[in-house]
């Protein structure tokens, strides 16, 4: 098991390095001269040269890459060209909205999907199954940000149970959580529909396995056999999907900010794009990719815990 974890950590490190190389290449190598790119066509030579020096773009590409990485490891993500403020400052508060939103949605989606998927598989071919399949079929077709708009329309505008948007800050934790309720429901529901279907098909497949027959021959009822044997085995393929979902939810969280006026990473990045603030785009992208790779790593570990065939004894 230890060897497996070490192997995965190595993989994690390697992925981070390669991902950072990709980001660096796209942002700093492809535009040619990032400083000129950021200032646009009309800038004069002197301003461009000054910016280049300012951002440390004078060195060789390799040196700049190393500088960037070592900076990030120490918490220095560069200075935003637009705001003239360290990117770390800009990001820290916003990170604490986007990430919790994604995590909350992941938990909600899983909690919703499991019982629905299990019920559907256990009643395969009967009315309940058809009903659930129909419902999830609709669920996976709904764009999450549109669903968010509908939720605002119904729950904030018409029923006035929630505010229509905004984020009061984590100093008031309950109010903060409340403001994340509608967005996380909007994100979670379509993902829950997907996950429920995956759970259903994984379970149907495990229900057909021979060890289910052995379980019944031992005297377990259908229900006991499903819960004690099929479910545990069905979890394994489902885990992979949950890991993938996090990356979708993170992207979704960034997009859905627009609907709920949440001051998360989305606004920062999109403004960074329009204003050609490559420093911001580069560092925030790296952060997002890091979050995804980290979650993948955690899922791999969970995988090994769930499936003993992946661990090898000495």
């Amino acid at each position: 098991m230890l060897r497996y974890i070490l192997g995965r950590l190595l993989s994690l490190g390697l992925s981070l390095i390669v991902a950072s190389l990709v980001i660096f290449t796209v942002i700093e190598v492809i535009p040619g001269d990032p400083a000129a790119f950021m200032l646009g066509l009309n800038a004069d030579e002197a301003t461009v040269a000054a910016l280049r020096a300012d951002l440390g773009l004078d060195g060789s590409k390799a040196a700049r890459y190393v500088g960037w990485i070592s900076g990030m490891v120490q918490g220095d993500f560069g200075t935003s060209y637009t705001y003239r403020v360290p990117v770390a400052e800009l990001v820290s508060d916003r990170l604490w909205i986007s990430i919790p939103l994604a995590v909350l949605s992941l938990i909600l989606s899983t909690v919703l999907a499991f019982p629905i998927g299990i019920l559907s598989a256990a009643n395969r071919g009967r009315g309940l199954d058809y009903g659930i399949m129909g419902g999830t079929q609709l669920g996976i077709a709904i764009p999450n940000f549109w669903f968010g708009m509908l939720l605002v329309l119904v729950f904030a505008v018409t029923l006035q149970w929630f505010s229509a948007g905004g984020f009061p800050g984590w100093n008031t934790p309950l109010a903060a959580l409340k403001s994340l309720v509608l967005p996380s429901i909007a994100l979670a529901l379509p993902q829950a529909a997907i996950l429920a279907r995956v759970m259903r098909s994984a379970l149907i497949e495990t229900l057909a396995q021979d060890y289910m027959r052995t379980a019944r021959a031992k005297g377990l009822s259908r229900r006991q056999a499903l819960l004690r044997h099929a479910l545990r085995n069905a979890l394994i393929p489902v885990l992979t999907i949950i890991g993938l979902q996090f990356s979708f939810l993170l992207a979704g969280a960034i997009i859905i900010e627009n609907v709920f006026f949440l001051p998360g990473l989305g606004r920062l990045i999109f403004q960074g794009i329009t204003q050609r603030d490559l420093v911001v785009v580069e560092s925030v992208t790296m952060l997002l990719v890091f979050a995804v790779i980290l979650v993948t790593f955690l899922v791999d570990i969970a995988y090994a815990i769930a499936d003993p065939r992946l661990r090898r004894r000495a």
């Binding site: 549109w146 999109f270 960074g272």
Partner: protein, 274 residues
């Protein structure tokens, strides 16, 4: 010919409606969507404007039609990128299982999976600016490891079968075997995955247009119709509901058709029907 399930017929009908709208929009729309005629703003549904107009005076029906074209085109090309690049990679990985090539392809897949479509779109548009082309690339790149993985998985389970060994005894090499034996037997898997990725592509394009990273004005897209409608949502909710509904119905239709296709192509079910 076997009787097709109702859901599949419904799905095909829905998809056909949107396909028709998209194709028609190439030659004709009730009104010109690129003209902003403020005088016509916020008209309710009428014979002149069957679904009404938005706050810029554009006919909603016409915008939906052009939007359908955009969504379908982006999703189609993105899926094609995934298939054309991903499937050969997956086949090559399975044919050389355990080799350096296989490792590289698997690692490459994992790397791309670390970059959600949105992040790829952000990277590309930061350097090249937003456009439909860049949205296609962003979504398409993410499709590559999806198809590579499906192709590799399907292929691996076939490589152990005796008829592959028989082909090797008949002197055939790995490439020929991949093309003659493996590919035809995983086509069903790929078709099903393609329909899934196609409808995911439509949702992805809508999200990208919503944040302005896809097709740019004045060409309308469903996603941008939604972001334009956001400020009007309290007074004129229909502006937001209609494009969203279009997305839901289009994707629903495709998914229903895809499910039906999967059942039709399932060899176990097929044998029962014969």
């Amino acid at each position: 010919m076997t009787r097709l399930p109702v859901s599949m017929i419904l799905g095909a009908a829905l998809s056909a409606v949107f396909l028709a709208m998209a194709l028609l929009s190439f030659v004709w729309t009730p009104h010109d969507v690129e003209q902003l005629v403020i005088a016509n703003r916020l008209q309710p549904a009428s014979s002149e404007f069957p679904l009404g107009t938005d706050q810029f005076g554009r006919d909603l029906l016409s915008m939906l039609m052009v939007g359908a074209r955009v969504s379908l085109a982006v999703a189609l090309v993105a899926v094609s990128i995934g298939v054309v690049i991903g499937v050969p990679l997956g086949l090559a990985a399975a044919a050389t299982r355990g080799s350096l090539l296989d490792e590289l392809i698997m690692r490459g897949n994992d790397l791309i999976f670390a970059f959600p479509s949105l992040v790829i779109a952000i990277l590309i548009t930061a350097v090249f600016g937003p456009s439909a082309f860049n949205a296609i690339i962003a979504i398409g790149i993410f499709n590559i490891p999806v198809f590579a993985r499906v192709a590799r998985g399907g292929a691996l389970s076939l490589w152990t079968l005796d008829y592959i060994l028989a082909a090797r005894v008949a002197g055939k090499g790995r490439t020929r075997i991949s093309v003659e034996h493996i590919l035809p037997n995983i086509v069903n898997l790929l078709i099903v995955q393609a329909t899934i990725q196609f409808s995911l592509g439509i949702l992805a394009e809508a999200a990208l247009s919503y944040v302005g990273l896809s097709v740019q004005p004045p060409v309308p897209s469903w996603g941008r119709m939604l972001s334009d409608a956001q400020t009007m949502i309290y007074s004129h909710p229909m502006l937001a509901i209609l494009p969203g509904l279009a997305i839901v119905l289009m994707v629903l239709g495709l998914n229903l058709m895809g499910d039906g296709l999967r059942d039709l192509l399932d060899p176990r079910l097929r044998r029962q029907r014969q």
